[in-house]
């Protein structure tokens, strides 16, 4: 595997693992990270989160990754664990670009 791809996968896995652990600890879920699939729905079905959980998730992600998520844009990133990971990685990239 090319080193660039390996690095990309590691970055994704690292962010995914941090987001998953955060969801489990902040929301006191009685499951292990292996029991969560990346495309599990967060609301309605799947993990069956509610609007209070949504606020908890946003606050915890902002704190963990030092990013701003709740800026009035669409909250569609709250649909699955993978969509949370996408958004965290996107925001980190934007911040990095702005700094440079």
């Amino acid at each position: 595997m090319q080193s660039e791809l390996k690095e990309k996968i590691e970055q994704r896995e690292n962010t995914y693992n941090r987001v998953t652990e955060l969801l489990i600890s902040y929301l006191a879920l009685d499951i292990s990270s292996e029991q969560l699939d990346p495309d599990t729905p967060l609301f309605g079905v799947g993990l069956e989160f509610d609007s209070i959980d949504a606020i908890e998730i946003i606050i915890s992600l902002e704190s963990e990754f030092e990013i701003v998520l709740d800026d009035g844009e669409s909250a569609s990133f709250l649909r699955t664990i993978n969509s949370l990971v996408d958004e965290v990685m996107r925001r980190k990239e934007v911040e990095l670009d702005e700094r440079n």
Partner: protein
């Protein structure tokens, strides 16, 4: 094909109507009706009145036998399911519920016709034909309205309702829906249109990826199981797989060109998986699907793959922005949508 596109567009933009010939509808009666659910389902079946739950029925090898909703309405238990035909489903439940004796299974398809409404404004049409109370029905909720059993659930990513109408009133209800539906630009959606919407939203399709002998782990359906429940059909296989782990996972992808199902997915000249499902997405203008990829290539957000020489990238579903996500029955209306959208 054009009919499919018309139905698809109605699901994504207004409301579409379907006669669901593939939906099995059962009612379980008797003191042990809910014990039967508990015996055969791999999830915890605690249901409040009017609540539905999404789960599976599993074969002994842990692969899905049926894709089901279970539901409680008062003392009545309902099961809506896709996969086997209704007789096979009844036989399977009976065979796996031998310890429960005080229950009966009623095949509702003999007395009810299953219809479905899907689309960002399905709620508004439902309210028009069934009354405004329907607006208060939560997702995965069920109620009886005017002799119609209404289940709020769908597999398109948009607002969805399964309506079981009494068979002897079916034509009258069809007439009512068509009359009211014309104001909503309602169109008929065939199975292909609904399947494409399900694919874009990564809903499980038992007749598609469910035919590859995969377990809920590879299918990303662990949320349909209870991590704690010990006894149900397939439990031993699930326990074994959970302990041994799994090395492949179903992953959503997009590609600009049509490719065939079962084609190999390649990365750096190495086969890393196969296409299990693919379909053209009119909203996106490319093809989306599900590929079974092996670790560590199974992540979303990678644009390093080829299939039949075409580029393929993995993505986080849903592959489309569902209009329903931004539409509220309390603030929006089909009739004022253009004004609200500023167009």
């Amino acid at each position: 094909m054009k009919g499919t596109e018309v139905g698809y567009n109605a699901i994504r933009n207004s409301v579409a109507f379907t006669e669901e010939s593939d939906l099995c509808c059962l009612q379980l009666t008797g003191k042990q009706a809910f014990d039967v659910f508990d015996t055969v389902c791999p999830c915890d079946v605690f249901l409040q009145d009017g609540q539905m739950k999404y789960t599976l029925l599993l074969n002994e090898d842990g692969t899905p036998f049926a894709d089901i909703y279970v539901c409680r309405k008062g003392e009545d238990a309902y099961l809506l399911g896709y996969g086997p035909n209704v007789d096979t489903l009844i036989d399977w439940i009976t065979e796996h519920s031998a310890e429960n004796t005080d229950f009966s299974i009623i095949d509702l398809s003999k007395t009810y016709a299953p219809l479905a409404l899907d689309g960002p404004y399905a709620w508004e049409l439902c309210a028009e034909v069934l009354g405004p109370d329907i607006l208060g029905l939560p997702y995965l909720g069920m109620k009886v309205s005017d002799e119609v059993l209404v289940f709020r659930a769908g597999q398109t990513g948009e607002y969805g309702y399964h309506l079981l109408v009494p068979t002897d009133q079916k034509n009258a209800w069809l007439e009512k829906l068509h009359t009211a539906g014309s104001a909503f630009e309602m169109a008929h959606a065939n199975e292909a249109a609904r399947a494409q919407c399900a694919l874009e939203n990564f809903f499980f399709d038992i007749n598609r990826e469910g035919q590859y002998g995969l377990t809920p782990f590879e299918l990303q359906l662990q949320w349909r199981l209870s991590a704690q429940k010990a006894a149900y059909p397939g439990a031993e296989a699930i326990r074994t797989r959970r302990q041994s782990g799994w090395t492949r996972r179903l992953t959503c992808f997009s590609t600009p060109d049509p490719v065939k199902v079962d084609t190999a997915v390649v990365c750096d000249d190495e086969v890393v998986g196969h296409i299990l499902a693919i379909g053209y997405s009119p909203v996106r203008g490319d093809y989306v699907g599900k590929a079974l990829l092996r670790r560590p290539y199974w992540h979303a957000g990678l644009d390093v793959f080829q299939v039949q020489g075409c580029p393929l990238k993995t993505l986080s579903p849903p592959a489309v922005d569902n209009l329903s996500w931004n539409i509220s029955p309390y603030n929006d209306s089909f009739h004022t949508r253009e004004k609200e959208n500023g167009s």
